[in-house]
């Protein structure tokens, strides 16, 4: 019997090679774009006011549901982001999904759906002074630093791909897209960042 138990698996960006383009004159520095690798992601559906789930989340993730639209909560390296009035996504380190889903599998919680979507979605983080400029080339959201501030998550289109965009820091954004769109998203952003210079770092 063959056993592949030690196979680690591949992220959605597996096979996209490291690449860079030097910052041209006038650029305030290259944008660094990196594959976040095998990040676990859990889609959670329930009422915002579900106390059983909120308490369970406090235990297993470390923070409760952000009830306010377009917000995410942070606990260490884990996050819970608003996706809709009864929908959230939990981001957590690789290998944690089973523990978290098990922790939320509570009969007394009522109408809840928890789905491990770690592999359905890919994720990249962009960092650098021109990050907002680069994203604005393909996304109609308002990226002004007084508007799209850290802690805000928005779903929109990055050209032809649906994405979830989180502002992590003044000049750092995380983009989550469907796995099969990630090569397109990376190609699109690399192209958009030529003006400023970029470095793409595989996981």
């Amino acid at each position: 019997m063959a056993s592949l138990q030690n196979v680690h698996g591949a992220s959605a960006l597996h096979g996209i090679a490291a690449a860079s383009s030097p910052p041209p004159q006038g650029s305030r520095g290259a944008v660094v774009m990196r594959d976040t690798g095998l990040l676990d992601k859990i889609n959670l559906r329930c009422d915002a006011g579900n106390t059983v789930i909120n308490e369970a989340l406090s235990r297993v993730v470390g923070t409760r549901l952000p009830a306010e639209p377009n917000r995410f909560h942070v606990s260490g390296n884990r996050r819970i982001a608003w996706l809709g009035p009864d929908e959230w996504i939990i981001l957590a380190e690789n290998g944690s999904a089973d523990t978290i889903t098990a922790g939320l599998d509570l009969p007394e919680a009522g109408h809840v759906a928890v789905n491990n979507v770690s592999d359905a979605l890919g994720s990249i983080i962009l960092e650098g002074e021109h990050t907002r400029d680069a994203l604005a080339k393909h996304c109609a959201l308002d990226f002004h630093p007084t508007v799209f501030t850290p802690g805000i998550v928005q779903q929109s289109l990055l050209s032809h791909a649906g994405v979830t965009i989180m502002c992590l820091d003044d000049n750092a954004f995380q983009i989550i897209g469907r796995s099969s769109f990630m090569p397109y998203i990376v190609a699109l952003l690399k192209d958009a960042m030529i003006e400023y210079g970029y470095e793409f770092q595989p996981a």
Binding site: P69, G84, A140, Q155, S156, L157
Partner: protein, 122 residues
């Protein structure tokens, strides 16, 4: 391009939304005794007024939630955005809802009464 206020995500470009056509079309309950012609009012006939129109939109590339919009088809002014299952609040949109020929149809009478649901909301 219209600027549509998603009731959840806020103001977004029309590009992120899909229009689901006329709102408040009540689906006849299964036990109806409608004739084919009466059923066609529900199944096939859609309104296309000049002026205030109540229509359904979904924020396809955002939160994926449906909602109702009262829009003036001449000026493109969005008069009101209101949740699925509810009727409009503004006078102009209320009048449009009341004036629809559909309110008088047998198909609507055969639908579930005052449902909280959107398409059936009356």
């Amino acid at each position: 391009m219209l600027l549509i206020k998603c009731p959840f995500c806020g103001d977004r470009d029309e590009l992120e939304f899909s229009c689901g056509g006329e709102a408040h079309i009540a689906r006849p309950l299964a036990e109806n005794t409608l004739t084919d012609a009466e059923f066609a009012d529900y199944l096939f006939l859609r309104d296309n007024p000049k002026g205030v129109f109540l229509e359904r939109w979904i924020h396809t590339d955002g939160c994926r939630r449906w909602f109702n919009v009262a829009r003036d088809t001449v000026s493109h002014e969005i008069i009101e955005v209101y949740p699925m299952g509810e009727t409009p609040k503004t006078e102009a949109a209320k009048a449009a809802h009341k004036a629809s020929w559909r309110r008088q149809t047998a198909a609507e009478a055969a639908a579930k009464p005052a449902s909280p649901a959107g398409r059936s909301g009356s």
